[in-house]
Amino acid sequence: MALGIQLGLSGLAFGGLVFLLAAGLSVILGLMDVLNLAHGSFYMLGAYVGVAVLHLAGNFWLALIMAPLLLSLVGAGLEMVFFRRLYGRGYLMQVLLTFGFSLIFVDLVRWRFGPENQPFPAPAGLTGAIPILDFRFPVYQVFVIAVAALVGATLLIGWRRLRAGAILRAGVSDREMVGLLGIDLARVFTLTFALGAGLAGLAGVIAGPYLATYPGMDENVLILALAVVVVGGLGSVEGALVGALLIGLASSFGPFYRQEIAIALVFGVMAVVLLIRPRGLFGLRA
């Protein structure tokens, strides 16, 4: 029982992190048909912005604000200069473009910071572990769960209740119609990209003290976020949430029972969901 709770909590922390990534990825894919393989790079860059800020200012909380801000600027810039030219040309071109960018970003990071793991200490007050039942749980993972829950709740309320959320949901189901209603799609796209990149940057910086910070940290988490997007259904924030929890729990319980089946379990979950519901759990669109 206690063990189940412990594994469940660490699955929640990891799932929360993946959710921050998958939410942006899912909306970008659902709205703009952009399969953004550079989304993991935003996550990695967020972590490295955190490392740089820690190095210069020595303040984790400043890093926590700077990383999402800088990354949304990067996302908006990339959208305006590059991705915008490719809308409507099919996702394969974007696979190539964004894969190119992910190679560039990982190498830039390796160039500037070297190939090794970067030390990324948790801030004072979030170190150590707290006792829960008969085990001790790292405080920092509680913090990760809290941030993910806070951001997730804000996103869900915005997605369901705000005008901006309504525009995005409408855009996912029929882009042209939204444009015909007089909404400036180009601006919506740029802002969505900025938001998605900012969330990924946030995920990166909170991942810093929790997982390792190194060039290539983007690849593994990107593939998990993609799995989440597909399990949840393209262009759905609720789907990303449920999918991320499923995948988070699968990747926490799996290794406990048998180290080797962890990945098979994660992708097995994805395969089973897709076989039963080909459009994902909350798929809004064919």
Binding site: M93, V95, F101, S102, I223, A264, F267, P278
Partner: protein, 352 residues
């Protein structure tokens, strides 16, 4: 009207020049490849072997993606399976000839492709991409975690000995007696010729396949699956058949790679291989067969050459991909078409 009439002969000349250029290029490429081991150093011959193997793999992707409209991110599963079957068999019964090894690898990959394809084909588009990725990763992790005695775990199966290539060797020796030049590269030469033959056979077989009624049906399914089904075409059966053929070819490529390297490893099933081969196909230009083969050379040589000249090769490779998308969105083989269109637009003014 008179303008167009005056345009016609000049235009047809351009088109014909295009045809001549295309066949000229193909013949030139063949000559270059066939003579490679006579003048190139061993390093480049081994790169060419890997590129030819990768080209077979990329052509299998083109059959799926370009001709049938099925973007798979799980093709490495068959590539890896072919390689593992080949290694396992070669180690289990030493002295087995080339054909049984290749045959078993191809059959193993094709057999795997039947359930893999039947399940993946329940969805289309991005979902197909992701479902093939999921199955591919499941297979990779299964191959990775099998007991060490089976597939060697993370070390893989090592010590595979290449079967003798008597026939190729004899033809080859006769040939260079006639030509009167002795080859520069001796050691990997016969294996190089084997991969060249495999690549040419694959190219020819697929060219014939896509021009056959079967291939035309595939194009129909790609363009409008619903209409083809309404016309009474069993589209699922066609797509599954193509998936199995593509899987078998990927298995062939995997088998050749194992024979070249002397080992096979479960990491060849990893999804990045599927991604890289997909990118090679897109870079070359899908639905051309020659394009993906060319793309395989470009990607492999770019990787090897850039990495030996610059530490910053991933950055350069990434920049190349970005440049491709921005300036050659239809792939390398579209260069001629782009120039042609420019020439036509320039000649005719901009009224078109």
């Amino acid at each position: 009207m008179t303008e167009i009439a005056a345009e016609a002969p000049a235009l047809s000349l351009v088109v014909r020049a295009g045809h001549v250029a295309r066949y000229g290029l193909l013949a030139g490429a063949l000559l270059l490849l066939a003579s490679l081991s006579f003048w190139a150093p061993t390093f480049w011959v081994s790169i060419a072997i890997q590129a030819l193997i990768f080209a077979v793999f990329a052509m299998s992707v083109d059959l799926l993606l370009g001709y049938t409209g099925l973007p798979s991110l799980g093709q490495a599963a068959f590539y890896g399976t072919g390689g593992l079957v080949c290694a396992k068999l070669a180690l289990a019964s030493p002295g087995l000839g080339l054909l049984p090894l290749v045959g078993a690898s191809v059959a193993g990959a094709a057999l795997l492709a039947v359930p893999f394809g039947a399940l993946s084909l329940r969805v289309r588009g991005v979902y197909f991409l992701m479902l093939t990725l999921a199955f591919g990763q499941v297979l990779w992790s299964l191959a990775f975690q099998t007991p060490r005695e089976w597939l060697g775990g993370s070390d893989g199966l090592i010590g595979v000995v290449r079967p003798p290539l008597d026939l190729l060797q004899r033809i080859d020796e006769q040939l260079w007696l006639v030509v009167g030049v002795s080859p520069r590269v001796a050691a990997v030469r016969h294996f190089y010729n084997l991969t060249l033959v495999a690549a040419i056979l694959t190219f020819t077989a697929l060219s014939l396949l896509v021009r056959s009624p079967f291939g035309r049906t595939l194009e129909g399914i790609r363009e409008n699956e619903h209409r083809m089904r309404a016309l009474g075409c069993p589209t699922f059966r066609y797509q599954l058949a193509v998936f199995v053929v593509a899987g078998a070819l990927a298995g062939l490529a995997g088998c050749l790679l194992t024979l070249f390297n002397g080992f096979a490893n479960s990491s060849s099933l990893y999804w990045t291989n599927s991604g890289l081969v997909l990118i090679a196909a897109i870079v070359g230009g899908v639905r051309t067969l020659a394009g993906p083969a060319l793309g395989a050379f470009v990607v492999l040589i770019a990787q090897d050459a850039l990495s030996s000249y610059s530490q910053r090769w991933p950055l350069l490779l990434g920049a190349i991909f970005v440049g491709f998308v921005l300036f050659l969105p239809n792939g390398l083989l579209s260069t001629g078409r782009v120039l042609h269109a420019l020439a036509r637009a320039g000649r005719a003014g901009h009224w078109s």
